[in-house]
């Protein structure tokens, strides 16, 4: 027998028997079960498995219980007492509830009774358990993610005292700072410590390969401020963190395990950054999320040495590359700190000459800054799945009411025989608790699956996902949900069942009298279910609509048939000539590859992360003006044609635009309109102002010239960073005049070479084997990644809406089926009096549709309110889009119609005579 999970479960079940019995028969029972599993009745994929384990559990519970009660037959060989079939309602055999033992006995009796009674209606039991498992499981899975991301403290010492410092942008986001601002903040008494940081990428050369790693240049204060200790070695000191200090580096645990196989002697060895050896001082935990998550190394900040090396002046307030994190001084609240920072910024502004824009300082708790952006979305998902949970409970409550109504005679008999109301309520509650417990257990299994599925589609922009797990806290949540579910669906019906007079029910004699044909409670529950499903459907509809519009926006270039790969040659001491030669050779070889139409290079491929922009000045602007922000895109000649960006006017770059020639640029229509509204941009000149923003992965003086650039062409606008963002003003520069080392290779393919990625890598390696090359991806993949958030929203809310719809459909079906069976007699009379079958069918459908329509209307009203919450997540569609809402209404009615059809058909096929004879 294989020792799979099945074997383990088998052994668990065996433990229900006393040890002696297990010793004697355990092996035999295991063999028995294994053989039994092969029976045909267990062959159906899912249902068979459920049936098998239900049968086993039932058997083991029953006989195991008997064995434990009468563990062994006495030595004289007398028969054990036959198991007594006691009804819990019968007082004479009921153990006294006044003693602890008696109470325990009562509970055991209730449980046994619950098991038998649930077993008697397997369809009800299976449907109820499955519904609860889905409701509890999906809610638990979403909770596990929301809890980890939003509610758990950050993995730092005393994280509540940490704040992120920054500028407040026009859209009220936290922007990065200029160096003078960081320095002034560090002197502010409100903080115990302030650490500056700058995210950057660098070429790393290993013995046999090279790659680009992302890391950060951070002040030595960072480790004290966050309170993180190195796992190994030490962090750098204040003495090492000065301009011209020794080349030292800290690496992440991830990098240490990958590159050094977790060897302790990695500390003290060296690694090459830009071919320059750096001594590894220590290994840091992976979860340092400042200045950005996912850093693989940290180097000393050294008064912004990286920026100074560019011959840029970081002491100006136009260079805003710096993040800063601070720990609040004792006794300082975040509000006081924020006031201090705002005052400080006003002072800084006052010192500046000229009429600059006001810069507003801001602080945000590190926790809020890390997770705040994801909060609305995540809470929304928790809300959505909460609705699914409510529907699931409503559904089971409906089934439960039906079940209890069917047992009213039984309850009445027991009451008449002397069972107290408390006894009966406790019996019914035990049943619902048992059901909820099994549903909760199933929910944990569902949660595991749903959590895994969610983590594969959740966008990587949501922080802290690596810490998501199913731990005790989440289990407790699932347990709480089960309890809640049991109370919601079990307690109220139980109370109402027990409160009805027994004499009244007995008089009815189980005959479908007036009281039991009423299904008001079930009907209200169904209306509620439909309403909730409609809210979710409306949300899903809005997201779908918005997503479709997003996919249909004008990108401004081709996305199909284009592949992209980033190459990162190192800029050595030989100057940029080497870089130009490298790319010339690469382009030559790549163009010659089979399946390649044409190829070019660019620094900023569409939907990529590499973008930077700076302020530009026209000839008519005064020197002290701030200029206008514009994106800077480096390209090679022919790029526009390769990727399909239309050249509206002028010319493309050509072989004549070399470093020694006058600097040229092609501007996009947006920038032309911003800089020279109503004028002909061709021949106009502009140059860099003082502002610079963006993600730079290389820093070389030559790239930041102060010369005038002449406009030689006008190109169409491109959506560069995301589909939802309107195109910004941009200009293109020829790579020959700005020979940035790290460039993206853009290849237009014919689609006929399946091995193109491998061929590309080989072609690059033939030119230089030590040049790192990133993943080869298609532009379409990048576009898809850029819409991963809206897609995730759609999939999640859509998925929940489908589940909600199915549950509501089940609810409608159940209540209509119940109605038909309760009215069998009446229907018989109507048919006997000559009613046509079609009219009977119509009556049932109309009856059901009335519920659905009321539910749908209530739901739509709710949806109008709820959709305001997602208004900011929509693109190109209003939160109360009438078309979407109309569609949802129609879908709801269709689904409800389908749910009514089967009960209606059954009603119309009744044999009038049999119906009349029926009770």
């Amino acid at each position: 027998m294989a020792h799979g999970p099945a074997t383990r479960l088998h052994r668990c079940l065996l433990r229900l028997y006393p040890a002696g019995f297990r010793r004697l028969h355990g092996d035999q029972i295991l063999e028995f079960w294994t053989t039994q599993r092969r029976e045909r009745r267990y062959a159906l994929p899912l249902f068979g498995t459920v049936r098998y384990w239900t049968d086993l559990l039932g058997d083991a519970l029953g006989s195991g219980f008997r064995q434990r009660r009468a563990p062994d037959h006495d030595d004289r060989g007398n028969l054990p007492r036959a198991p007594q079939r006691r009804s819990p309602g019968n007082r004479p055999t009921t153990p006294s509830s006044s003693t602890v033992l008696g109470r325990f006995d009562l509970l055991r009796q209730d449980l046994r009774y619950a098991y038998r009674s649930l077993r008697r209606q397997p369809l009800f039991t299976v449907v109820a358990i499955a519904t609860l498992a889905v409701g509890i499981g999906s809610t638990t899975a979403v909770f596990s993610i929301v809890d980890t991301v939003l509610f758990r403290p950050l993995p730092y010492t005393d994280p509540a005292g940490l704040v992120l410092l920054g500028r407040l942008s026009e859209s009220n986001d936290l922007d990065s700072l200029a160096l003078p601002e960081v320095q002034a903040l560090a002197r502010l008494g409100a903080f115990e410590g302030v650490a500056a940081g700058l995210h950057y990428g660098v070429d790393v050369q290993w013995d046999e390969s090279a790659e680009v790693l992302n890391g950060a240049s951070v002040g030595h204060q960072l480790f004290d401020v966050l309170g993180v200790q190195p796992l190994l070695g030490r962090v750098y000191s204040a003495e090492e963190d000065v301009p011209g200090g020794p080349p030292v580096i800290l690496i992440s645990e991830r990098l240490w395990r990958r590159q050094f196989a977790g060897a302790p002697d990695a500390v003290g060895s060296t690694m090459a950054l830009n071919r320059e050896p750096h001594v590894i001082l220590g290994v840091m935990p992976d979860n340092i999320n400042f200045p950005e998550a996912g850093a693989d190394f940290w180097t000393p900040f050294r008064d912004a040495e990286i920026i100074r090396d560019l011959d840029l002046n970081p002491d100006s307030r136009g260079i805003t590359f710096f993040s800063a994190v601070a720990r609040l001084a004792p006794g300082i609240t975040p509000q006081i700190a924020r006031l201090g920072v705002q005052t400080l910024f006003r002072t800084l502004d006052g010192e500046e000459e000229g009429e600059g824009e006001e810069v507003r300082g801001w602080t945000e708790s590190l926790h809020e800054a890390t997770v705040g952006g994801s909060r609305t979305g995540l809470l929304l998902f928790l809300g959505a799945v909460g609705l699914v949970f409510v529907i699931a409970c409503a559904n089971v409550a409906g089934l439960w009411l039906t079940r209890i109504a069917g047992r009213s005679t039984e309850v009445a008999v027991r009451t008449a025989l002397g069972a107290s109301r408390r006894r009966i309520v406790s019996q019914l509650l035990t049943e619902s608790l048992a059901l909820a417990a099994v549903g909760g257990a199933g929910g944990v299994v569902v949660a595991m699956a749903v959590q895994r599925a969610l983590l594969t589609i959740i966008p990587a922009t949501i922080p802290r996902l690596d810490a998501v797990e199913l731990d005790g806290r989440v289990m407790l949540f699932a347990f709480g949900l089960s309890l809640l579910a049991a109370v919601v669906f079990g307690a109220l019906p139980a109370l109402s069942a027990a409160s009805r007079g027994s004499a009244e029910i007995l008089r009815e004699g189980g005959r479908g009298g007036a009281a039991s044909t009423k299904t008001t409670a079930q009907r209200l529950l169904v209306i509620g279910q439909v309403a909730i499903a409609v809210v979710l459907l409306a949300g899903a509809g809005l997201f779908a609509n918005s997503y479709a519009r997003l996919l249909n926006v004008e990108l401004g270039m081709r996305s199909s048939g284009l592949i992209v790969a980033r190459l990162s040659p190192t800029l050595g001491d030989d100057g940029t000539e080497v870089i130009r030669n490298f790319y010339a050779q690469v382009l030559q070889r790549v163009t010659a590859l089979p399946g390649v139409d044409s190829a070019a290079i660019t620094y900023s491929p569409p939907m990529g992360q590499s973008n930077f922009r700076q302020t530009v000045m026209t000839e008519t602007m005064a020197e002290d003006e701030d200029g206008i922000w514009a994106g800077n895109v480096i390209i090679s000649p022919g790029y526009l044609e390769v990727v399909g960006v239309p050249l509206r006017r002028g010319r493309d770059f050509n072989a004549g635009d070399i470093l020694a020639a006058p600097y040229v640029a092609i501007v996009n229509e947006q920038m032309a309109a911003e800089l020279w509204p109503g004028e002909d941009p061709l021949g106009k000149r502009f140059k860099w102002g003082n502002g610079l923003q963006g993600s730079l992965d290389s820093f070389e003086r030559e790239f930041f010239p102060r010369d005038w650039l002449t406009v030689v062409g006008v190109a169409g606008n491109v959506r560069r960073r995301s589909l939802a963002e309107e195109p910004i003003g941009e200009y293109y520069r020829p790579h020959a005049q700005m020979s940035w080392p790290s460039m993206a290779l853009m290849v237009s393919t014919t689609g006929t070479n399946p091995n193109l990625a491998t061929d590309l890598r080989r072609a690059v390696a033939e030119v230089d084997g030590m040049v790192p090359i990133s993943d080869v991806r298609s532009v379409q993949q990048n576009v898809a990644t850029s819409v991963s958030e809206p897609r995730f929203r759609l999939l999640l809310v859509g998925g929940f809406a489908v589940v909600a719809c199915l549950l509501a459909m089940l609810g409608v079906y159940a209540v209509m089926a119940l109605t038909v069976s309760r009215q069998t007699h009446d229907i018989g009379i109507r048919m006997a009096l000559g009613a046509a079958r079609a009219s009977v069918r119509r009556q049932v459908v109309v009856d059901g549709m009335r519920l659905a329509i009321i539910g749908a209307v209530v739901g739509l009203v709710g949806a109008i309110g709820a959709s305001q919450l997602i208004a900011t997540m929509l693109y190109g569609v209003g939160p109360t889009d009438p078309l979407t809402f109309a569609g949802v209404f129609v879908v709801t009615l269709l689904v409800a119609g389908a749910a009514c059809y089967f009960p209606a058909r059954r009603a119309s096929r009744l044999d009038p005579l049999a119906a009349l004879r029926s009770d």
Binding site: F21, L24, W33, D59, R66, P80
Partner: protein, 113 residues
């Protein structure tokens, strides 16, 4: 122990003994035979079956036995056979049942009900 003390046999025990009349069988085999004979009306679960067999074996009505030759390869599966006491007991039970049925027939004609 006098056989008289175990009558009437519970339905499970009765069918187990009946299944073993044709020759030794193992637990699952007994289950199959009973299921076939009763057309699926009695479907013995493992726990219930071994519980009953433990009782029967204590009462001396069945006992462990060697696996028949055709099953000799089936390893640790245990086989049971009916004892002489068991057969006698089964006979007594049959007679008791026959008497009951005969009496019942005088009250309820065969073709009705």
């Amino acid at each position: 122990m006098s056989p008289r003390t175990v009558l009437p046999l519970p339905a499970t025990s009765f069918h187990i003994l009946l299944a073993l009349v044709d020759g030794p069988a193992h637990g699952y085999g007994i289950k199959r035979v009973v299921e076939e004979r009763t057309h699926g009306r009695i479907r013995l679960a493992a726990g219930t079956l071994y519980e009953a067999m433990q009782r029967l074996s204590r009462q001396g009505l069945i006992e462990n036995t060697e696996a028949p030759e055709e099953f000799s390869g089936s390893g640790r599966v245990r086989f049971y056979r009916i004892t002489d006491t068991g057969e006698a007991e089964l006979g007594d039970e049959l007679r008791r049942l026959e008497q009951d049925v005969a009496f019942a027939r005088t009250k309820v004609p065969a073709e009705q009900g």
